[in-house]
Amino acid sequence: MTASLNARNVAAALIVAGLLLLPLYAQLSGNMFVLTLFTRIVIFALAAVSLNLIMGYGGMMSFGHAAYLGIGGYAVGILAAEGIGSGFVQWPVALVTSALFALVIGALSLRTRGVYFIMITLAFAQMAYYVAAGLARYGGDDGLTIYKRSDFAGLINLSGRVQFYYLCTGCLFGGIYLVWRIVNSRFGLVVQGLRSNEQRMQAIGFPATRYRLVCFVIAGTMCGLAGALLANNTDFVSPAVMYWTRSGDLMVMVILGGMGSLFGPVVGAIVYLLLEELLSQVTEYWALIMGPLLLLIVLFGRGGIMGLLGRLHRG
């Protein structure tokens, strides 16, 4: 693949460089809050990247993606509460649980299409939400405080701000790399082919649901990792991370940045969360501006920010 110098690739390169150099800036300027803010942004970017894999490339509009954030988070939180602090146990459990959940709900949801798919994924996420709210032993509605972050036996210290930031950024870049490899593989081409014309793909002889399901599970697992990171970042996990508005946030990030572009969801997460942060500093009623802004973006900005940059290049 030859990378040409266009606005989209420049933006992607700037993001990678910016994210890598951010701790340096935070140290030099003494503004450690930036690091905290961006740790959160990077984690949500990872979740958005995973959602983009099924939504942007696979055409599966999941409205329940936040469920994996909660499942990954609760895997870490519950194990920590039961005295198992090792990240070597917690994280694999988080990933496997997310994968299993994705496998089950994917197998059921993928029988439906279009709006029905949006709604059934939403329903499953809401079920997960109520299960978490019913876990009286682990805080129920109020959530679960995690007193000790995942322990990686001295390999990496998650309580170190910079170390944790780089871990999250590493996971994000790993996720983007994985999506890039998938999208350009034979498997990824089949999934994208299914998005554009399912009938034709089936006529050639590809089992549509099986391909989609594998893609769905990969995305769910990746988002479970984001959930484990998020729980470690906030030292807390509650049912609220799985609430449907959270899934809505993730969708907004993907669409805002540009669906079906590799770095689009990262741009979307950065812009959405920074905007939320900046607007809430200006006014308590930040959503009063954010809401109509989203509407305008939908009405006039097709293909999100990355789409805009793409058009810029073409003139």
Partner: protein, 305 residues
């Protein structure tokens, strides 16, 4: 026995209320092909308008009539300013745009009415318990909700099935290009249908207001329920919405009321009291999942082409 009758009526009442919300949603969905997440915001606005106008006029019925008018107007303005430009776009665009509208409405309400909830007090003549069967009393207001909602449902049925407007609405649901080609002013029809849906949502919100508090975000939980209903019933089908509403209202209410006792028979009491609330909240989502797996188009798929 007494409890069963009461819970049965509660279930019916919730179901009918949900129908008012779901009917508007399914009409808008079926005819304009628009996914409107902000429908719950109209429900919330109905309740806030009612609380304000009732306090302002001092009359319960007068305030409610004003609130209904205001929600209708708000719906029409909303359609004219924002949603009209979304017709024919991707469903995902609808989700994003109307998600933005939810954010907007929630903060607008917080700005105007403040973060604390409002109460909508009932007039004395609606607070008396009424004896329905010998020995069984039921609050007059809840009974009034059932009667009003049933009347509205019947009216809706007559309008949609027996009038010229209803004929156009049904025609629009089955083939919107064709009725445009036959010279019907679709834009006006869409605005009317959206206003009607908004008024129904507002009615549901203001009727629910005296029972629950009027608060920000009150429309969000119930919006999800309404979506579950229209998906179970089959998108665009009013009959499906009615059946599914009653089903969901009953299952939700009866589940919450009787599931804890049922579970206690099989599980230990401690396990049952933790499992029951979660399980009863999940029941309707479970129902929806089962319906979609068995009949991916819902129970009563609207006839399309």
């Amino acid at each position: 026995m007494l409890l069963v009758v009461e819970q049965f009526l509660n279930g019916l009442q919730l179901g009918l209320l949900l129908f008012l919300l779901a009917a508007g949603l399914t009409l808008v969905f079926g005819i304009m092909d628009l996914v409107n997440l902000a429908h719950g915001s109209l429900y919330m606005m109905g309740a806030y308008f009612a609380a304000t106008f009732v306090a302002w006029t001092g009359s319960f019925l007068g305030g409610i009539a004003l609130a209904l008018g205001a929600t209708l107007l708000l719906g029409i303005v909303l359609e004219f300013v924002a949603l009209r430009h979304l017709y024919g776009r991707d469903h995902l665009d609808h989700v994003l745009a109307t998600f933005g509208l939810i954010l907007f409405f929630n903060d607008a309400v917080r700005l105007i009415w403040g973060p604390a909830g409002l109460a909508l007090p009932l007039p004395p003549w609606l607070t008396v318990p009424i004896q329905i069967v010998p020995g069984v009393f039921y609050p007059a207001y809840r009974l009034a909700i059932i009667v009003v909602a049933l009347a509205v449902a019947l009216m809706l049925y007559l309008v949609v099935m027996r009038t010229r407007l209803g004929m156009l609405i049904r025609a629009g649901a089955s083939n919107r290009e064709m009725i445009g080609a036959l010279g019907i002013n679709i834009k006006l029809l869409y605005t009317l249908v959206f206003g009607l849906g908004a008024a129904l949502a507002g009615l549901a919100g203001l009727m629910q207001a005296p029972i629950l508090t009027v608060q920000i975000g009150m429309g969000e939980n119930i919006l999800i329920l309404a979506f579950v209903i229209i998906v179970i019933g089959g998108i665009g089908s009013i009959r499906g919405a009615f059946v599914a509403s009653i089903l969901v209202g009953m299952i939700d209410t009866l589940g919450r009321a009787f599931l804890p006792d049922l579970l206690r028979k099989i599980l230990s009491s401690a396990a049952a009291s933790t499992a029951a609330p979660a399980l009863s909240s999940m029941l309707i989502y479970l129902l929806m999942a089962i319906v979609l797996v068995v009949r991916p188009e819902g129970l009563f798929p609207a006839n399309r082409r």
